[in-house]
Point group: C2
Chain length 197, copies 2
Amino acid sequence: MLVILSAPSGCGKDTVLAELFNRAGWLKRSISLTTRQKREGEKDGEDYYFVSREYFQSKLESGQILEHTSYSGNYYGTPKTTVDEWLKQGETVILKIEVEGAVKIKELYPDAVSIFLVPPAMSELETRLRQRMSEGEEEIQSRLTIAVNEMKNAVNYDYIVVNEDLGRAVDDVYAIIISERHRTSRSMHILNEAMTF
Amino acid sequence: MLVILSAPSGCGKDTVLAELFNRAGWLKRSISLTTRQKREGEKDGEDYYFVSREYFQSKLESGQILEHTSYSGNYYGTPKTTVDEWLKQGETVILKIEVEGAVKIKELYPDAVSIFLVPPAMSELETRLRQRMSEGEEEIQSRLTIAVNEMKNAVNYDYIVVNEDLGRAVDDVYAIIISERHRTSRSMHILNEAMTF
C-alpha cells in the first residue's frame, strides 16, 4: 500500500513522520534523491540520497524517478525501483511529497492513499514560521501565500489531518493507515481464508 | 457518521462492540426494538427496547423503523428517529445489523461506513459455536452454511476485520472509525478553518 503525505511548509510534516516511524517501525519510508549539498547534521541515505546532477539526470532519463521537482536550482526526486520493490513485497510505503508530485503519483498508483496535513489555522502557521526565525518577512508572506494555494488542493486528497497536537496528528495518520489496510479491496485474501473450512 | 457492523453469528460481534463502547464512550449505539420476550439478565433500553407487537406494527407503519427483520416469529427493528437525531447532532452512530438490513441502510444513507467482521477461518467459527454448547449438531451445520452465505456479501462492505484476537479487532474497528472521520468529504469545515487567517 502506498501512502502519500503532503503538507504546507511549516506544518510539522517531518516531525509527524519521525514520530510515526518511531511508532510503526514496519512502515517503509521512501527516501528522495537530491542534487543539493548535504547540510550539517544530515545523513546520506537517511535524510536524502545526495547525488550528482549527472547521476540524477541519468536516472530521470531511464525512467527510474517517479516524480521530481526542482527548487533553488536543485533537483529532488522519488526513486521508482525501491518503491515498486516494496509494494511488490506487500509493504506499506510512505511518500512525503509536494502537491504537484502527489497528483502525478495518484495517476501512476490510483490505489495510493493520500493524506493532507493542515495547520489548525493560518495564524498558527504564521506563528510557527516566525518562531523558526530563519525566514525574513517577505519569505514568510510568500510561504503563507503558497500554503493557502497548496491547501486548495487538499480537496483532492483522501484524508485531511489537522496538526494541532502532535500526538493526536500521529494517532490520526496511523489510524488512517491501519484502516486502509482493512479496505475490502485490499482484504480479499483474508475474506477467502475466512470462508475456508 | 453512520457505521454499520455486520458479522456471522458466533463471530463475537457483541463482545467486540462492548469493548469498543468501553474504549470510546462518545460513540452512540443504536438500540433495536424487539417483540420477543426479555431473557434473564437483559435490560430494557440497553440490550433491546422490548415492545409489544402492536407498538412495533404502528412504528413500522408510520415509517419510524429504518429496517426490520423477523426471526422465530418475532420482529427486530432499528428505530429511525434516534439515529437521525444523533446524525443531525454530528454524532457517530453504530448500527449492529444483519446483511440484508445493511444493504437497505446503505441505500438510505449512502455515506454510511460498513464493516464486516469475519472469523479467521470457518473451522474457528465451528469451534466457537460448539463451545457455546447451546446448539445441536443440525443447528451448528445450519449456522455454518448461513455464515458462508453471509460472508459472500462481505465484498459489498467497505472494510473487512478479522476477529482472531479481540483486542486487535477492537483496535481495527476503532481505527476505521477515526480514519473515516478524517475523510476529506467529512472534513471540509476543518479545511476551511485551516485556510482562514
